[in-house]
């Protein structure tokens, strides 16, 4: 997996490089490590919930710290850095420039992540990944919660710098012969993602500063005792993190636009609708944040507005799905591992999207609020759609990065186990939520139905965990001993497929 050249460079030269493929690789490796660290926490959480009562943890405190770090790690150290890494790797190739616009800024953006990891994991905060006040300002234990706040500030800054770099690279460093409307859809996805990051993140950064000063007792923005409003934090938070949902999903959609036409051996069904949908969601995504807060006592008018705005985001997501289906329709589809993961992601995207549409209906939202329904819903998106696509894309890029082929059979076994596991965990969690099981609680009532469904979910989670162990074994072993890949057509799609990336670009030119 370590980047190779005609003449091998020492490792430290790769680690401290400013070349886009090197930094992209560092991003990808870091995010894969984070995926496994966060996954380990998830396994512990599911082991605890296998039986009612308290077995694995000493109590709710440790459980809170585990699910907080699970959420934070998966969202900020897996989903975002992986997208940034793939973007780094491919965007300069796609827009035909020698590197990112500002290579050193790119390296700085990456190197803000390791200190954040140390802050996050050294502290192991227990605020929940949302860090709602009043708990986060009045009660959350000191070093850990403050470390969490500072780590998130750094990570936000890191994504901002990365996003600025992407926007400038795509818009300004694009080859003059390449019009904007001929650019690959992955570049469009990274462009709209980056623009969303630039608009969304500063709000959360401001909220984090307010949290810090509130915790010190200097200010009382969110401290009701000092005349502040805890719900104001939720508005600031979700103004960043509802768009963040689209920031997570858009790179995945861009990757699907790479995978689906390739393995369907057909041109894309509709390029323009893809561009329109990507740009549209980047705008509409900012109008629906308060649907996370229907239970905080908003007026009926506000709730209706945000419900309608949420529904307005549906068509642009559906445009992507129809685009994928239209591309696959009538194609000679080759179900290699990336395509398997991609098509599973489309299916689960539909399932999680449908759950979200139902959930935004006011009457249901009050029933499902803070229940396992919500957990099942967003995990189905983040694991079922985003992580499945990312996994598929790791397989897709594997020949480009290593020059070798992964073990095809093991990849397919990985897919089957992971797919069944994901469905077992997260669909069951929807039903658990409808039975009224609250999220973030270490224990549940020893009712047969709850116990059974939790056990199904835990078994599914262990299947996913086991399949990903097979995955890491496969990519580690294959990158050392795998069969050398044909750099033009590593997936043996045959003639007439002009697609794979410029292999020689892995070599830094400066």
């Amino acid at each position: 997996m370590v980047l190779e050249l005609k003449k091998p460079r020492p490792l430290w030269e790769i680690i401290f490089s400013t070349h886009h493929t090197d930094i992209g690789l560092l991003y990808i490796i870091t995010s894969i490590i984070a995926l496994f660290a966060g996954g380990g926490l998830a396994m512990a959480i599911r082991a605890e919930l296998f039986f009612p009562g308290i077995q694995v943890f000493t109590g709710q405190e440790d459980f809170s710290r585990f699910f907080t770090m699970h959420g934070t790690t998966m969202l900020f150290l897996w989903a975002i850095p992986f997208a940034a890494g793939v973007g780094n790797y491919l965007i300069p190739i796609m827009v035909r420039y020698k590197d990112m616009a500002w290579p050193k800024l790119n390296a700085i953006a990456f190197w803000m992540i390791p200190p954040s990891i140390f802050l996050l994991w050294g502290g192991f905060s227990d605020t929940g990944w949302t860090a709602y006040p009043p708990y986060s300002i009045l009660k959350a234990p000191a070093p850990a919660a403050d470390m969490w706040i500072f780590a998130l500030t750094f990570l936000g800054l890191s994504s901002l710098l990365g996003a600025v770099n992407f926007v400038v690279t795509i818009l300004k460093m694009k080859h003059p012969d390449l019009p904007l409307m001929k650019m690959s859809l992955f570049s469009w996805a990274m462009l709209s993602t980056s623009l969303m990051i630039i608009v969304a993140i500063p709000t959360f950064a401001a909220a984090l500063v307010m949290l810090t000063t509130d915790r010190l007792g200097v200010t009382g923005f969110f401290n009701a005792e000092m005349g502040g409003d805890p719900v104001a934090y939720q508005h600031l938070f979700w103004f960043t993190f509802h768009p963040e949902v689209y920031i997570f999903i858009l790179p995945a959609i861009g990757m699907l636009y790479e995978i689906i036409p390739t393995f369907s051996r057909k041109p894309l069904f509709s390029y323009y609708s893809g561009v329109i949908a990507l740009v549209l969601i980047a705008i509409i995504g900012f109008g629906s944040w308060a649907h996370h807060m229907f239970a905080t006592g908003m007026s009926f008018t506000e709730k209706t507005v945000f419900m309608v705005a949420t529904l307005a985001a549906v068509p642009s997501s559906a445009m992507h799905v129809f685009n994928f289906l239209g591309t696959m329709w009538g194609g000679r589809i080759k179900f290699a591992a990336p395509m398997l993961f991609g098509s599973a992601a489309i299916m689960l995207f539909y399932a999680s999207g449908a759950g979200g549409v139902v959930n935004t209906a006011l009457p249901l939202d009050f029933l499902t609020h803070d229940s396992y329904w919500v957990v099942g819903h967003f995990h189905l998106l983040l694991m079922g759609t985003i992580s499945m696509t990312f996994t598929g894309f790791i397989y897709y890029l594997f020949p480009l990065i290593t020059g070798r082929m992964y073990n095809v059979k093991q990849a397919k076994i990985h897919f089957v186990i992971a797919f069944i596991g994901v469905i077992l965990v997260f669909i069951t969690q929807h039903i658990l939520g409808l039975y009224g099981m609250p999220r973030r609680v270490i224990d549940y009532l020893p009712i047969d139905e709850l116990t059974l469904m939790n056990q199904i979910a835990s078994v599914g989670a262990f299947m996913v965990g086991a399949s990903y162990l097979l995955f890491i074994y496969n990519i580690v072993k294959s990158s050392m001993f795998g069969k050398p890949a044909d750099t033009r057509d590593p997936f043996e799609l045959g003639k007439g497929v002009e697609y794979y990336y410029d292999y020689a670009r892995r070599e830094p030119h400066h």
Binding site: G122, R215, G403, S479, A504
Partner: protein, 173 residues
Amino acid sequence: MTTHDENHIIRTSPGRFLKGFAIVFITMGVLGYITIAYWDYSASYPPPVSSPPPAPPVEEATEGAASTTAPATTATGPTITIPAGAATPGNPAYAPPELSVKKGEAVTVVNNDNAPHTATSGNGPEDAGQAFDTSLIMAGASATIDTSAIEAGEYPYFCTVHPFMKGTLTVTA
């Protein structure tokens, strides 16, 4: 597009890979050690906003001097103060926590906190109020415990609203 590389560039040897693994695992080991060794330390202090305010002067209260204590009242005689922030577990609950008075003296309980409190004799709800009970003292208000009807002895008391607030009142004959 530049030309494809005709020769496969595959030099990822196990040795190089081991070096990469070493970097990753040593870093993770250091981080894991920090996390586990400081597991309790890293989540053990309440945030500054809820940490205890400076303790009020207690000497005057124990001596029963009527000079500068208890801003909310003009009580003379022994005084128990409930300092600001007492409703948070871990903060001082009653000042002084142990007070000794002569039988017959009236003890004034001043609530300087912003939440209502009580001073109720007993160790908990099961034996609450058998000797004395101030009932609810609103924020800023005060109440009086008449010790003339109480036999000499040591009486633990607590707050029925916040049972973690505990103190002791000793009545001497």
